[in-house]
């Protein structure tokens, strides 16, 4: 459970920081009157909602990561040899995230261009992931083969589903842009899509480190610290 505990430690740190700004040591029974809200202005609800949703998704993948590491510990097995295409796919997802970032910042005519680039690269990422599945199956690493392969399909599949959900949201933003053509009013939804994409990119990078074995040393360090 190293992965999820590390993730939760991160969440506890953020929560602790937030709680420290809520005046938890105040004495509300003495503070009658028009108190100002103690915390500084916060992001709008939709942005916070998306951020909280990303934390939930992070927890989901942290649990998957924990199950993955647990199985490595209990039943020694080899990691799936990842084809080189996975690095290309990663670059596509980074490009997609970058394009949406620019789309959220751009209030001019290039919003469409950035959104197109972001969508196309995301679809490219999905297609690339499917290609990796085919390659692995051809190489004898099918879904029901070694547990490591099962985990690879499950983790990449769930991540892909979340990208797919993001693409649906992006399509809705596209539709709204086409309907209203009022870009300024549509910056907020584009920014939410960008935030979601950044979150999924970070999650993918961490998953990739896990699946490729790059994070093994870090995990061993965490494990030794926890035990």
């Amino acid at each position: 459970m190293t992965v999820i505990l590390t993730f939760l430690a991160f969440i506890v740190l953020i929560s602790g920081w937030w709680l420290s700004r809520q005046g938890l040591a105040s004495k509300p029974w003495l503070e009658t009157g028009p108190l100002p809200l103690t915390e500084p202005p916060q992001p709008p609800p939709h942005r916070l909602g998306t951020a909280v949703f990303l934390v939930v998704i992070g927890g989901l993948f942290a649990m998957l990561g924990s199950a993955f590491v647990m199985q490595i510990d209990e039943t020694p097995w080899q990691l799936v040899p990842l084809p080189g295409l996975v690095w290309f796919n990663t670059c596509l997802l980074m490009l997609s995230s970058l394009a949406l970032h620019f789309a959220s910042r751009d209030a001019g005519h290039r919003t469409h261009v950035w959104l197109t680039l972001g969508s196309v690269t995301a679809v490219g990422f999905m297609a690339g992931q499917l290609q990796i599945w085919t390659t692995l199956t051809d190489n004898g690493y099918g879904l029901t083969g070694a547990p490591a392969a099962s985990f690879f399909y499950l983790i990449t599949g769930l991540h892909g589903l979340h990208i797919l959900g993001g693409l649906v949201a992006l399509a809705l933003v596209w539709f709204r842009l086409a309907q209203t053509n009022l870009r300024q009013n549509n910056q907020a939804p584009v920014a939410l899509c960008a935030l979601y994409w950044h979150g999924l990119l970070v999650i993918w990078l961490l998953l990739l480190a896990l699946l490729s074995g790059l994070g093994n040393e870090f995990l061993a360090l965490c494990r030794s610290a926890l035990t």
Partner: protein
């Protein structure tokens, strides 16, 4: 009608969320069925949860009939018994308690108590209920498929959960259970996002976090915990579904079944246990924390006294929430874990008793020298405290490895968790319904029926679970369809089992009185008025009772004080509402 200060106080900073009255629903369907109003959604959640809870209650009757009078009821076969056990546990823990506390009370009380017009994402909130309802429907369908529902036990441990020896293991039963849980978690996540963001960002002006009633603190913290813990169950369900449907071996080791080698191999059943209990133990507090918060408010209102140690109560809620994530493996002492891990988890389990005990002390000190009104909500709140202390003490026994190992598979554990996680939170739910029913309907619940309901439920619950502790200590195992007449069993056990069954049937029947009261009082109960309990919190201060769409009329309320100004010396009445800008309260610090 409450006379609210206008939303024009220049001393207060502007609200963080723009005050927009949610659009009114047009038509019967969008008003009552596909409603986006949190109050309607709350009632939909509560109605569905109680309906499926009644199914679980009947299932518990079936189990008790078998245990109390074995061999008499032919229709209770061993397979059926395990199916009853499984469905009773899962429904009660997830589909009743979690849904009712968070979906029911959360939806009704959060917007009203924080001074918001509604949840921040009303459409998503509506979807949350409908997906929950779909989850319940899928669960109910599993009763009617060939092979029936799963009988794997509420923990659904693999490998047995998906093998042919377990009822529903190789039929649709287990799949429908897993699908239902997945739907439940998706639905809950939608609602949970709403509860968290509403508390964080839709509080009215002046409502700081430290002016929130403890009910909101409890529901808020429990929701955060659930958002972090439910993914563990979701992952476990998906992986088991893969094992069962697609032939993967996430949780399945090499197995021989009826002399035949199965195609599974290399998986770890223990991994499932870790995932399950990583959800399962926080789940205890996901149910308990809202109960803690609600009971604090019930005590303050009906004892006419501020909650003792409000700050400490908030810290304890947050502390319990955090600690509950590092105690999960105390459910796995008998799984063969390393003794040092057992020591670690026994220690964390005992540490979590500290903030819990703080809360109990503070409840008792809230009652100390208070103006206690023995209303129905107060009776149920007192019933909760006593029951929770009883269940908590036996939890201390079981938290120790050396005591847990011999008791783990006995009825002692059943008695323990039913006291702490069954009877105690149900006491709070019932007390809360008696308390807030007048707000939701404008009428009081009938007192006579309420007292009959309380006393039968309270005394009956002890008649069930006190003897069950003894039965467990004698060594009667749990999960057994029939125990026969083993040598270790003393003579009274058989009689006690019959007695417990009669008590369980009686307590269950008493709930019919409660349901009838809910129905009857809706039209015939005494008219409640706007603030019948003379409470201080915002939910009682809406311009119209029951609150209308948008809750607050034209202007949002302004908050000038905390939620517990009761019986202040020199005050004209024994309560000062949160919107009262009046003179500064005397510095009679409770802590």
């Amino acid at each position: 009608m409450a006379d609210l200060p206008h939303d024009t106080d220049p001393q207060l900073p502007p609200a963080e969320v723009e005050d927009v009255i949610p659009p009114h629903a047009h038509g019967w369907w969008s008003h009552y069925v596909f409603s986006q109003d949190a109050k309607y959604i709350a009632i939909q959640y509560a109605g569905t949860a109680m309906a499926i809870g009644l199914v679980a209650l009947v299932l518990s009757w079936m189990m008790r009939l078998q245990l109390g009078f074995p061999g008499i009821f032919d229709f209770i076969t061993p397979d059926a018994y395990y199916q009853f056990v499984t469905m009773h546990g899962m429904i009660m823990v997830v589909y009743l308690l979690t849904a009712l506390f968070l979906g029911g009370f959360g939806n009704y009380l959060i917007p009203l108590m924080v001074g918001a017009r509604d949840m921040v994402f009303p459409f998503v909130n509506m979807l949350s209920f409908w997906i929950y309802l779909l989850a319940v429907v899928v669960l109910v369908i599993s009763f009617f498929v060939p092979g029936g529902p799963t009988g794997a036990g509420w923990t659904l441990y693999p490998p047995q959960a998906i093998l042919s020896g377990t009822p529903g293991g190789q039929s649709a039963g287990i799949l429908l259970m897993l699908l239902s849980l997945i739907l439940f978690i998706i639905g809950f996540t939608m609602g949970g996002l709403n509860y968290v963001v509403t508390v964080l960002q839709a509080r009215t002006r002046g409502m700081t976090m430290m002016r929130l009633p403890l009910t909101v603190w409890g529901i808020f913290t429990a929701t955060v915990m659930a958002l972090l813990a439910f993914p563990a169950l979701l992952v476990a369900c998906i992986m088991m579904m893969f094992d069962r449907l697609l032939g993967t071996s996430f949780f399945m080791p090499s197995l021989v079944e009826l002399g035949e080698h199965l195609s599974y191999g290399g998986g770890s059943p223990i991994a499932f246990q870790h995932l399950f209990w990583f959800f399962g133990h926080p789940e205890v507090y996901i149910v308990a924390l809202p109960a803690f918060g609600i009971v604090s408010d019930l005590l303050a209102v009906h004892a006419r006294k501020n909650v003792f140690g409000y700050r400490m109560m908030v810290w304890a809620i947050v502390g319990i929430g955090a600690l509950s994530f590092i105690v999960w493996a105390h459910h796995m002492y008998v799984s063969g874990m390393h003794p040092y891990f057992g020591f670690f988890f026994a220690t964390t389990t005992l540490i979590i008793a500290v903030p819990t005990a703080i809360k109990v002390y503070n409840w008792v000190l809230t009652l100390w020298k208070a103006d206690i009104h023995l209303t129905l909500p107060m009776l149920f709140a007192l019933g909760f405290i006593v029951t929770f202390v009883n269940g908590g003490l036996t939890g201390l026994f079981l938290g120790n490895v050396v005591v847990d190992v011999p008791l783990s598979d006995t009825m002692f554990v059943v008695a323990h968790f039913h006291m702490v996680m069954g009877v105690a939170p149900i006491m709070v739910i019932l007390g809360a319904i008696y308390h807030w029913y007048p707000l939701a309907t404008g009428r009081m619940l009938d007192q006579t029926m309420g007292h009959i309901h309380f006393w039968i439920t309270f005394i009956g619950a002890y008649a069930i679970f006190f003897p069950m502790h003894y039965v467990g200590l004698v060594g009667v195992p749990r999960r057994y369809y029939e125990i026969g007449e083993p040598a270790f069993m003393t003579a009274p056990v058989e009689g006690l089992n019959a007695f417990i069954t009669v008590a369980a049937l009686t307590v269950g029947a008493a709930q019919i009185v409660f349901l009838f009261n809910l129905y009857w009082s809706r039209n015939h109960g005494r008219v409640a008025g706007s603030n019948p309990w003379r409470a201080t919190t915002l939910e009682w201060l809406t311009p119209v009772v029951p609150p209308e769409h948008g809750n607050w009329g034209k202007e949002l309320p302004l908050v000038y004080r905390w939620a517990y100004d009761y019986s202040l010396p020199g005050a004209p009445e024994d309560f000062i509402v949160q919107t009262d800008p009046g003179p500064k309260a005397p510095a009679a610090a409770p802590l």
